[in-house]
Symmetry: D2
Subunit: 484 residues, 4 copies
Amino acid sequence: MTENHYSIDGDKLREECGVFGLIAGPDSHREPAFDTYNALYALQHRGQDSCGIAVAQRGQLRVHKGKGLVPDVFTMQDLEAFRGANVAIGHVRHATNAASVNPANIQPLLVRHASGSMALCYNGTLANGRSLRAESENRGGIFQGTNDAEVIAYLIVREHLRTHTLEDAVINAMEYMIGAYSMVLLQSDKLIAARDPNGFRPLCIGRIGDAYIFASESCAIEALGGVFLRDVEPGEVVVAQDGELKSFHCRIRAARRSLCLFELIYFARQDSVIDGCAVGAVREAAGRELARQNTVQGDLVIGVPDSGIAAAMGFASESGIPYDIGLMKNRYIARTFIQSQKWEQEKSLRIKLNAVSATVRGKRVILVDDSIIRGRTCARIVKLLRDAGAREVHMRVSSPPFRYQCHFGTVTPPAEDMVASGRTPEEVCRIIGADSLQYLSLESLKRLAGVEGLGFCDACFTGDYVLPVREADPRQLSIFPTLE
Amino acid sequence: MTENHYSIDGDKLREECGVFGLIAGPDSHREPAFDTYNALYALQHRGQDSCGIAVAQRGQLRVHKGKGLVPDVFTMQDLEAFRGANVAIGHVRHATNAASVNPANIQPLLVRHASGSMALCYNGTLANGRSLRAESENRGGIFQGTNDAEVIAYLIVREHLRTHTLEDAVINAMEYMIGAYSMVLLQSDKLIAARDPNGFRPLCIGRIGDAYIFASESCAIEALGGVFLRDVEPGEVVVAQDGELKSFHCRIRAARRSLCLFELIYFARQDSVIDGCAVGAVREAAGRELARQNTVQGDLVIGVPDSGIAAAMGFASESGIPYDIGLMKNRYIARTFIQSQKWEQEKSLRIKLNAVSATVRGKRVILVDDSIIRGRTCARIVKLLRDAGAREVHMRVSSPPFRYQCHFGTVTPPAEDMVASGRTPEEVCRIIGADSLQYLSLESLKRLAGVEGLGFCDACFTGDYVLPVREADPRQLSIFPTLE
Amino acid sequence: MTENHYSIDGDKLREECGVFGLIAGPDSHREPAFDTYNALYALQHRGQDSCGIAVAQRGQLRVHKGKGLVPDVFTMQDLEAFRGANVAIGHVRHATNAASVNPANIQPLLVRHASGSMALCYNGTLANGRSLRAESENRGGIFQGTNDAEVIAYLIVREHLRTHTLEDAVINAMEYMIGAYSMVLLQSDKLIAARDPNGFRPLCIGRIGDAYIFASESCAIEALGGVFLRDVEPGEVVVAQDGELKSFHCRIRAARRSLCLFELIYFARQDSVIDGCAVGAVREAAGRELARQNTVQGDLVIGVPDSGIAAAMGFASESGIPYDIGLMKNRYIARTFIQSQKWEQEKSLRIKLNAVSATVRGKRVILVDDSIIRGRTCARIVKLLRDAGAREVHMRVSSPPFRYQCHFGTVTPPAEDMVASGRTPEEVCRIIGADSLQYLSLESLKRLAGVEGLGFCDACFTGDYVLPVREADPRQLSIFPTLE
Amino acid sequence: MTENHYSIDGDKLREECGVFGLIAGPDSHREPAFDTYNALYALQHRGQDSCGIAVAQRGQLRVHKGKGLVPDVFTMQDLEAFRGANVAIGHVRHATNAASVNPANIQPLLVRHASGSMALCYNGTLANGRSLRAESENRGGIFQGTNDAEVIAYLIVREHLRTHTLEDAVINAMEYMIGAYSMVLLQSDKLIAARDPNGFRPLCIGRIGDAYIFASESCAIEALGGVFLRDVEPGEVVVAQDGELKSFHCRIRAARRSLCLFELIYFARQDSVIDGCAVGAVREAAGRELARQNTVQGDLVIGVPDSGIAAAMGFASESGIPYDIGLMKNRYIARTFIQSQKWEQEKSLRIKLNAVSATVRGKRVILVDDSIIRGRTCARIVKLLRDAGAREVHMRVSSPPFRYQCHFGTVTPPAEDMVASGRTPEEVCRIIGADSLQYLSLESLKRLAGVEGLGFCDACFTGDYVLPVREADPRQLSIFPTLE
């Protein structure tokens, strides 16, 4: 079991990445590298294993990246070296296995090329990444890392050899890319954002003074004091240059929009607004809906910090059952503590989380969280509450049962490790040791998140994948999608 | 202005220290150093500038200490070197000026002496520390640091030259110590706790298996899975040895108990119980009381994270005005970020805290925090909410106006930096830019915290110091207190 | 002026790299990564800016590399992670500008490819590197770094797509590579060494038990306790696999062998034997020859530590003038000291080097060094000796005047910074402030180093480059060499 | 066996400390902290385990110290914080067990006291340290560390309570101190040097501009570009203040001067002059004397780097047998390498030292070193030479057999670990595996080092201790020396 490294949210999915880019305007004295550094803090929840910033500075491209959190990787000296840059992009990333982050996979990727050097980073997963890699290799391409960044770079460079602009190359390359990707690229005088035709991962546009911003989430724009303009549309390529924005569209049209539902449930920061959905409001509404469907009596509503707090408050508000802080999280738990593998899981949880006896003793507790993946942390929290004197513990989950692996940008455990996979809610309830368990239905969730024209990817609940996810033998050439 | 280094709570008082001690029982296989390490995590909120652990290991005393948070100072290797210890004490500490932590002041202090070596650490301030130091120097004592640890050590050692046991030496020494102190000491086979006769600072007793625990707060006992037994009484000296507890009392009797009110308002962790007060419950009740006294209409109650959350929830619950998460705290802000002094205060706050526009826009916001000291952070938060669209911002504070310096264990700014010092609430309201401001009255606060027989120190609100705080010229000998 | 970072040899050329590889034999229990680590210590003089080790471990290729000296880059944990590898290669490297080592240039380079992954590292410079890079880019290749490692990797991979074995691919690729290169490559079960047809840079073969070794210098083989077998021949490709060595030859024949003379004069470690030349013996003989040509009276011979010691001893022995330690080097000067750019050059030199007054006062000193490049350090040493009381200082240099840039694997200053460039020895003598100056003639040097059939590259003294060093416009395709 | 940590000189005694102090003159703009930093580099050979600098800066005393070499402990930032100091002292130290350096023992010791704060550091050992410590403890003194620094501080402070000046306190304190000590102290406007009445350890005075310097060795003065004035006399106390030097003498007169002979043989840097002896000249003369006493034929003289080089050159010069570099030392061996305890001793030596086969093969080698303590490293070097083909190896040692522990400032192994203890030279010769072994006689050594009036401590060779070294029971009061 891979526990979450920096929070008690041990049983959570992991977003793979956050991206950011900023280009200074013609008259502006902003420092894009410093802004990017600050913005990466606001996106840190999207990836804690590595990060990096690439800049164009007096026509030269440079990159600094490494393992760890933003302040671990960047010293003030590192940032100072990027002073005077006119455009910057940044990336935070989660690796499947944090202990063995492959340095060659850390983004942004800086590509030196006669057609014009560039740097790129992305959030997502290419469904046909292995095929595209095999094809590149067959043409003589070499790879240092194992993720899709080099794959995308080869595609774009190949196209750029016959296009005039980088944006045309990106648009061409997108015809070959199947999957989820929200990416930003820079050249010496240009910043480009591109979002896959399905719009799996968020990507939005902001402005601060005469500088333009692209970011995975609106909270990064607000962290700088900038204003949110709009989302990048699925399939859109946006170019910021010379103080202007230009919009293009790739030649692929997806059958439907497919925003990842888990962005709303758990990944995105509560204060972000994604494709028109206010994330915090969706979470609270999910709690309200759970309350409306609730069938048991309770004395107290408790949220699992921090992921279940919003839904728990919605539940309390709708049900009239009082909300209280029954689980106290230690906010000084640092990575060193967790990385040492000396501590048994249960002792470890107790140090991270304390059930407040004075609050829960003798009470019928409604415990709310946003999701249950493997179920082990959930079971330990239920036990913690019982040990602290709770009379009953009723689990309420503000999403449907999680049963299928994600292939579009999220790190999920194998299906056999998911507690709801092949089990009824009653069986799950027994495993986590709760007195009752209710999930939010998929229909309810979609209705709550409903924005005109917005479709979702719900494959992790239903197994219905929007795009084909099985690749042909990677040593074969990929079969390219037919263009419209 | 010295901003709080690791949280958004920039305008907060700083507790000076947390102490902990554990002695293994005769049959136990516990590792006191490892337990102490874990417990210091639970006490980290009481001091983030330095920490240390001292142990007795096969009759030898050893100490490891340094600047920084618990995981910064201790590697697994450092802990492993303490394996096999039978007794350990630990300390976390806040320094007035974090940048220049004087290594000679880091605790525990290990004292080698023919009468039996010992290690000690304490939380508090001696009102007559300078006089005692001067007296020691006049007798030929030398000092490496500037705090009271060496002063106390000289007193105890001097007494120990004519007493049989360390506890007797401590009891004698306490006759000369005027002020606030909760301390733990160890010898090779013994653990001692002592609390000043007024009981300014908390100190409690716990048990896990056949091991005994002394800790500043009960949450540290619970973090280990131990059980809380009782508080150390004011003036009490408790000895844990050979699996037994013995209680003594010093020969000084205080006129009244004087628990620091700010422990309940802000310092202590919400899940701790101090001298019979459940901290979280007091905070929520303070919010309820504020609601009962409230005179304005509001659409929304918001707490300043994390210090104002409990009171805000109490306010919302009592008033019926809905609580919502209108301020979003970035939980990845690390020390490196803040320590770099490159960022202007306002930009810095924005990265730490984001006002959720979707929640506050157009609303009349009731903003709750536990205290206002200097008022600058508060003013910036009010502005943040207005920038995010709040129509009105009404500030409610769950403690009385803070106007006087603390001399009993807390780091406070000079009175002239306290916004309420010499100003009416209306003037403070104008300075922080709120539409209205209400404080909780001292009477209300004391009533809420009221436990049979429990008195409080309220000097920071009233200027009524329980003990004399002006010392004679430190080059003179101290005038020793008359004994009862 | 870029001063040498870790020694007093501030006015020295910088070798660019050292390479090493070891493959365990079928029955051996060696740990190739640990051996490589130890061997890199012995090659550390060939590059101090970055280093790395790549291994094949249970069929998987892995690499660990970073900035700094061998012990800075590798922890024991890093090495332990490579336990069980069957083959390893390692590299030490000097960067032109140490402060800004580009991480993408650190070797070994690990290349993932369908044709079989590999890792490679090299010592040298391709004269046609820019053309080859441009050609690769025109075919869609992307580059992350700026040195020739990726260029060579593309060539080899391109060839490997149509050859069965990696060695055949290397042999084919060598037809396109013009310049100086000694390289080692590994695959999961194979170790390959290749040396350019001119043999500019050293590369030799050793054995320890049933393991085979390739190394830049024989001292690395001896550091492990292994035995030197022979040098890799110019143009030779040697494959070690399954406990056997196989030798191949590339299809290019060079007009003549061209071992770099500076390897013998300065770069190589004194205890190495290169292409049959015992390095220490050559240096001592050079000192003897200088003595035979000497025209002045002296009381004392002094060598500049460490580079001039061997020649100074030869001079003393031949001339009968006593050798003494008149310059004392501080052996605790560490990188931190030098990297701080706070110290003026002269103060800095004084801390690194002290002229022993007791030894030199009133004496006519013969000062011997191996070379003068810029002349500034030399001038400061002459002044140091005069300040310490030396009556006369006669400079003797065991190589000819250095006047031309190297294009075959060495970092040299621009010609205008070389003190001998465009100046007579008399002018140089005046600049360095010596009483007289004599260089060793090129003819003498070649005669001393003379081994049957061994030719040298002497371009830095003569400007006669063995290979063309001006490239066509890099955006053009390279003109490939005609094959034999 | 505790191997030397940073050099191949594994079988060497360890000096315990080096001291330094500098006070700026009235008109000078020197930075004493920066000068001290540079000077500590020049004294680093006297201690590599910890170091520190204390300064007086605008009337305040401050100290920075830690484990490791000078550049490990001090960043530029640390030094910058000391800018503007008017006086500084510094210390380098060797600990008995480097792995467990007790931080409380690291010097300088900063003592805060009403009589005037001071900082002190010393080189040496008090023979009556334990008695003095016990006496202090009986008077109520507390100790944090285990060495004599606090003992000396208590003595001085006790005296200072009844003297007007610090120098008077030092002079008084010296009446109670029996043993070896060379110390420097600072107050806010004053720098003091004091040397024990026997003059065991060196201490000298220098000047640079109008600043005065005290240093363990003259090489530290020269490293700054200063001029050596004279040695501090045994029993002398020198005060530098207001641009003037004042000399005092303590009231104890020693029977005779007793400079440690090992300072000349091994400890001091070769370019230092101590009490009139030029260290390098003594070492070379010792080699010459060995040559005169030599009884065997040899083809080659080799010195063990770095300790045996000077004597080997003297031997070669006197005997006419050629000197050559037959042992090559790796100058990149860093602490990390050695501290890892994974390497067997023999493999470890091979990486540090290589026997040059080309030089020694078939030769009768005269191997010269300055001393043999345990004999194991010596045995390994003899084997290394034989493995490299040496026909005979004749060991010559430029000091007498080392047989007794030092009690005056040196870390020596227990007598039973000294190879010459209780053994004849013939037996030692067999153990180290040499063909013959000759030591320098004590008479010869003293004669060579002979300076008018200079006496030596030769206890390590003879067991004749100049002062009583057995203390009474430390719990008893010390019996104070009778004053003259």
